[in-house]
């Protein structure tokens, strides 16, 4: 019985020739990550252990991104605490406001993850880096503390679902639509405890930004990780961003999967997840009339340059509908600058869109775009739980940047095909 891609990476990091699903192993970590919400708890736990130093100053990354720039005094205190910790422990990869970005945009951009790595992060969307062919998963603050102390983490080896992608997505269909389609198909616990492995000739038709956005939402199907095969596009991305050595793992021919899904990308329609779960999906053709109050384009799911380009393409020389608040969040400072140089920021501002500094802000109802009771938002973010973006009586509709931008022009959920 062969191993899946994930199992091979875990076996190599546990120093074992072979692992099987369900086996408990201890794996060496290539990176331990935390943010301003989860790191304070991890620091408290780390200090209780009583060690002076983290296991490797180059293999810990701390990114204050959730409530930054500090939204209130309490948030400022939390950031101060982790900043002091980072300085004291000489953490190489601490990224202050001004250098930072939303962690899951920033970490790959800084070249801190490469194919074959094992990464844990005290943020559930750490699964994003599976786009690079790494094993990457979200854990809690205590695991982060133990990881910073020992450089190791225990895992139960996951079984896997295999998604064989073929064909090419149509013009306005992005990675976001594909992953929403998949979550709608298998449910929010459809991949519980499992890996989601994305393979097949269709992968070559997906950009790295598409892949990041798909791996990012593996957790919304309950997945332990989402992972893509490594191809020329991956290698090109890695060479451009990193000097780290990488290892390409591929699943064995006879690897066992719990289930195999074949997905023809050419048949996927723009897809929207209705409140209050990411699996409550409808194609754009089934949406009906849904009036909105706010549009959010950005986040660790969809704040990358391609996302901003597609939004700008739709908004160029047009005006957002009267009364609709539209907020764009570039995922990192680098993406922000690139968008500025490409003229996208000008397009947004002229269209009546506000452009924010990178922050998780509204995605989790933190700050910078909170909804009132009864208000509705179309968002390119990743969760639409009750109260996610503000008042428990508000609603979030998850969609691609194209659908979000088209909706900004009409004030209701709109098919980009009808606009452009």
């Amino acid at each position: 019985m062969g191993m899946t891609m994930t199992q091979k990476i875990l076996a190599a990091h546990a120093g074992l020739d072979k692992v099987v699903a369900g086996q408990l192993i201890e794996a060496k970590l290539d990176l331990v990550l935390g943010n301003d919400v989860t790191t304070p708890v991890a620091v408290k736990e780390f200090n209780k252990i009583g060690l002076n130093d983290v296991f490797d100053k180059n293999k810990v990354a701390i990114v204050p991104d959730h409530f930054t720039p500090n939204k209130d005094i309490k948030a400022a205190e939390q950031c101060k605490m982790i900043r002091e910790f980072a300085y004291e422990k000489e953490i190489e990869n601490y990224f202050e406001v001004g250098q930072m970005g939303i962690e899951h945009g920033l970490i790959p951009e800084k070249g801190l993850v490469v194919p074959g790595d094992v990464v844990i992060g005290a943020d559930s969307h750490t699964c994003t880096y599976g786009a690079l062919g790494a094993f990457s998963t979200g854990i809690g603050s205590t695991d982060m503390a133990a990881g910073m102390a020992t450089g190791k983490c225990w895992f139960k080896v996951p079984s896997a679902l295999k998604f064989v992608l073929k064909g090419k997505p149509s013009k306005w269909v992005s990675g976001k639509d594909i992953i929403l389609h998949i979550i709608g198909m298998i449910g929010v616990d459809g991949a519980l405890y499992k890996s989601m492995e994305f393979v097949g000739e269709g992968v070559k038709n997906l950009s790295m930004d598409d892949r990041f956005s798909m791996a990012n939402m593996a957790i919304e199907a309950g997945g332990k990780n989402g992972i893509f095969i490594v191809d020329d596009k991956t290698i090109e991305y890695v060479k451009e961003h990193s000097i780290k050595e990488y290892t390409i793992y591929t699943a064995d021919e006879n690897a066992v999967y719990d289930k195999v899904y074949e997905i023809d990308l050419s048949t996927i329609r723009p897809t929207v997840a209705f409140p209050h779960l990411p699996d409550n999906t409808r194609t754009i053709d089934e949406v009906g009339e849904v009036k909105i109050d706010q549009v959010v384009i950005g986040s660790c799911t969809n704040g990358r340059i391609e996302d901003l380009r597609v939004a700008a393409k739709i908004l160029k020389d047009k005006q957002v509908a009267k009364g609709i608040r539209v907020i764009v969040f570039p995922v990192t400072q680098k993406v922000y600058l690139q968008a500025l140089q490409e003229g996208l920021i000008e397009t947004f501002i002229k269209a009546g869109v506000v452009v924010s500094t990178p922050t998780c802000g509204p995605c989790l109802g933190g700050h910078m775009g909170i909804l009132a009771d009864g208000e509705r938002a179309v968002a390119t973010t990743n969760r639409n739980f009750v109260g996610r973006m503000g008042h428990p009586g508000s609603e979030v509709y998850l969609a691609s940047p194209a659908v979000a931008a088209a909706s900004a022009l009409t004030g209701k959920i709109t098919n980009p095909e009808d606009i452009a």
Partner: protein, 162 residues
């Protein structure tokens, strides 16, 4: 180790945003977090919950964010145990690591109603429904996990065993 309490029962996919909304994550103080536990799904929870009470959910309890504040808030609210058919994996890890006992038991979830009084034995995995005079069997914790829970979390457990 046995705990007794009244049941607060909820449905499928109780997510970490309703367990502790992100708007309160500007602190990690357990007592502060406990004040807002379950607020967006059950406004009265914090006023009604008493030490020892038990939360029962259906499938995929604790889905969503990796915030450890979720099990911390539940524990600080006085809840002695969470029982569900299945748990989201990060929540499962976080609960054990912070010393919040959680049990997977489909039979118990099907049999228990909101407001029932139950007693949970973590040593044997036995769940006794006092109200209905029925017993359900969950898998008992292996010894090392029982140790983590008895020591109120992974870090204390590591320290104690150094």
């Amino acid at each position: 180790m046995k705990k007794k309490g009244r049941v607060f029962k909820y449905g499928n996919n109780v997510d970490t945003d309703v367990i502790i909304p992100a708007r309160y994550l500007n602190t990690s103080d357990p007592q502060e977090l406990a004040k807002h536990c379950m607020e967006d799904i059950d406004k009265d929870f914090v006023n009604k919950v008493k030490p020892g009470d038990v939360i029962v959910g259906e499938n995929n309890f604790g889905c969503g964010s990796s915030r450890e504040h979720a099990p911390i808030a539940i524990k600080a609210a006085g809840v002695s145990c969470v029982i569900a058919k299945t748990f989201a994996r990060i929540f499962y890890r976080n609960s054990i690591n912070t010393g919040l006992p959680i049990l997977e038991c489909e039979e118990a979830v099907n049999g228990i109603e909101n407001g029932d009084e139950i007693e949970v034995d973590f040593k044997t995995g036995e769940i006794f429904n006092i109200t209905k005079n029925k017993t359900y069997q969950a898998q008992a914790f292996p010894e090392f996990m029982e140790g983590i829970i008895a020591n109120e979390g992974l870090v204390n457990h590591i320290k104690k065993n150094l």
